[in-house]
């Protein structure tokens, strides 16, 4: 991310008519859209019955949002994200054979919620640290160990492998799983993962 060289960020596919460069879009996405993830997940979970579709739906919402934002930055990120999410769900409902009635009803009611201001987003530093610690606690022990050694103590992958007495491949998996879960915990506000698996 940050240490990415500038030249790599500029994607050849980017059109000159785009309102945002790749790196601007990334910044906008991370700052304005990702903090909405917990709310978005709640919304998707409430309005879609098949829970195994949720991660896929979230990704769909993000793609639509970013495609639109690169042409024009939406004034109100929050309202925009939820409008996209709602339209996506409606389109899916239309495509499916069975129409989940309560889902449609919920969506009608949603118009009000969309434009209301979001919760206070300015987390002060102290809360953020607590939150990160809590997130670490949720990771399975071996994943956490690998991540702590790498991230906090600054060990490289092969050093973590030596310390934990496992192969580099296993360390890779632990680190990737840790990141995957941390993203869900930190952005999606999920607390139900990790320990159980």
């Amino acid at each position: 991310m940050a240490e990415t060289p500038e030249n790599r960020r500029e994607n050849a596919n980017w059109r000159s008519s785009d309102a945002m460069s790749v790196s601007d879009l990334e910044l906008w996405f991370v700052r304005e859209v990702l903090p909405l993830e917990a709310e978005l997940m709640q919304f998707l979970t409430h309005n879609w019955r098949n829970k195994s579709d949720i991660a896929d739906l979230r990704q769909d919402v993000y793609e639509h949002v970013c495609e639109a934002a690169r042409k024009q930055i939406p004034d109100q990120a929050r309202a925009f994200v939820f409008r996209v999410a709602r339209n996506l769900l409606i389109n899916r409902v239309r495509r499916e054979h069975v129409i989940p009635i309560e889902a449609v009803a919920d969506m009608e009611a949603l118009g009000i919620a969309i434009d209301a201001p979001g919760p206070e987003r300015n987390v002060i530093a102290r809360d953020e640290l607590r939150r990160l610690q809590a997130a670490l606690e949720l990771l399975p022990p071996r994943c956490r160990e690998a991540f702590v050694l790498g991230r906090l103590n600054g060990l490289a992958g092969h050093e973590i492998a030596a310390r934990m007495g496992v192969t580099p491949g296993v360390v890779s998996r632990h680190l990737a799983s840790s990141l995957y879960m941390l993203a869900d915990i930190l952005y999606g506000d999920r607390t139900d993962i990790g320990k159980s698996s």
Partner: protein, 328 residues
């Protein structure tokens, strides 16, 4: 002790891309990273917007855990143990400072490895930032900038909002402001840059600035702006006019918390107030919106403005559920 592979998390098939992105980020952060690896990653990123977004999300999660570094302790023995106390104390100070900064104009570091910083102001906020080289930038309301600097250049990316720059010129290390597809390079300068959704405005208070397109293929020639020049750039057009110093100073009123209107239409004035205040002004009809006003107001004193509007034009002002509606 449990076996190594047992905890491998099962990823839902729908989020294979997320799992791949996590794999890429950890590979890049914790293992040897060659140019060939980078090329491989670039190919994957270019394959689909979805790949890019998933990667951003994972990379952002990784960056967020940077704060944890100061907590290194419980698992680490020996040398670090001795330094633990010091770390903790340093961290508490850091928290105290960060808490103050965050409530003001959120400034945080993206990564400790590079000289890159993000500065932002909320609605109605101002913030003056002195950069490492002594250059200053004053951020107006609802503004987001990213500053990255190395030995060759200083780059400020204006993602949104408005900023006034007082640049300490260094011929060997140009100061560049990037806003969308446009680029400004200082030639010894004080200048103001404002980026709205569909246009970019640049006003040069002192010195000269070079304005060109970021994308060389765009074939737009560079424009040199001198003192008093005001450039307005939209996606396909650029206009440059010279303004008298008096009017330029008005443009900078926000630095003192003031909105200065000179032959400004009511509609534009309302928009200006709306940039600073959560309670929005709405001018109902176009005829009312085109009335011209002069005057200086505190940017958060909407009442003074609506009062003047009532007195001078005899217009109606009504508060309707968070919106202040101005009509005949």
């Amino acid at each position: 002790m449990s076996g190594a592979g047992e905890e491998a998390v099962s990823m839902p098939a729908a989020d294979r891309v997320g799992a791949q992105a996590a794999q890429w980020v950890q590979r890049r952060q914790f293992w040897n990273w060659s140019e060939a690896d980078q090329r491989e990653l670039d190919v994957w990123l270019d394959e689909a917007m979805g790949h890019r977004i998933a990667y951003w999300r994972m990379a952002a999660a990784f960056e967020r855990t940077e704060r944890l570094v100061v907590l290194r302790s419980s698992t680490e023995e020996s040398v670090l143990h001795l330094r633990k106390k010091w770390f903790r104390r340093a961290w508490m100070t850091a928290i105290a400072v960060a808490a103050v900064v965050l409530t003001g104009a959120a400034a945080f570091e993206l990564s400790s490895g590079t000289q890159e910083r993000i500065y932002a102001t909320a609605l109605g906020e101002h913030e003056t930032i002195t950069l490492a080289d002594g250059s200053q930038m004053e951020l107006n309301t609802d503004t987001l900038v990213r500053v990255s600097a190395n030995a060759q250049r200083r780059i400020v990316s204006l993602v949104k909002g408005e900023a006034y720059f007082t640049v300490r010129h260094d011929a060997m290390r140009p100061f560049i402001v990037v806003a969308g597809e446009r680029r400004l390079t200082d030639i010894g300068t004080k200048f103001l840059v404002r980026r709205d959704a569909d246009r970019l405005a640049v006003a040069v208070m002192e010195g000269r600035v070079k304005l060109d397109a970021l994308n060389i293929q765009a074939q737009s020639p560079a424009t040199i702006l001198g003192t008093g020049d005001v450039a307005i750039a939209t996606a396909d057009r650029l206009s440059v006019t010279k303004k008298p110093a008096r009017e330029l100073i008005g443009e900078l009123g926000w630095r003192r918390g003031l909105l200065v209107f000179q032959h400004t239409t009511l509609g534009e004035a309302a928009n200006e107030f709306n940039r600073y205040n959560a309670e929005k002004l709405v001018v109902v009809d176009t005829k009312t919106a085109s009335l011209q006003i002069n005057g200086t107001f505190r940017e958060n004193d909407v009442e003074a403005f609506t009062g003047a509007v009532q007195d001078v034009f005899g217009l109606q002002v009504r508060n309707m559920g968070g919106e202040i509606v101005i009509s005949r």
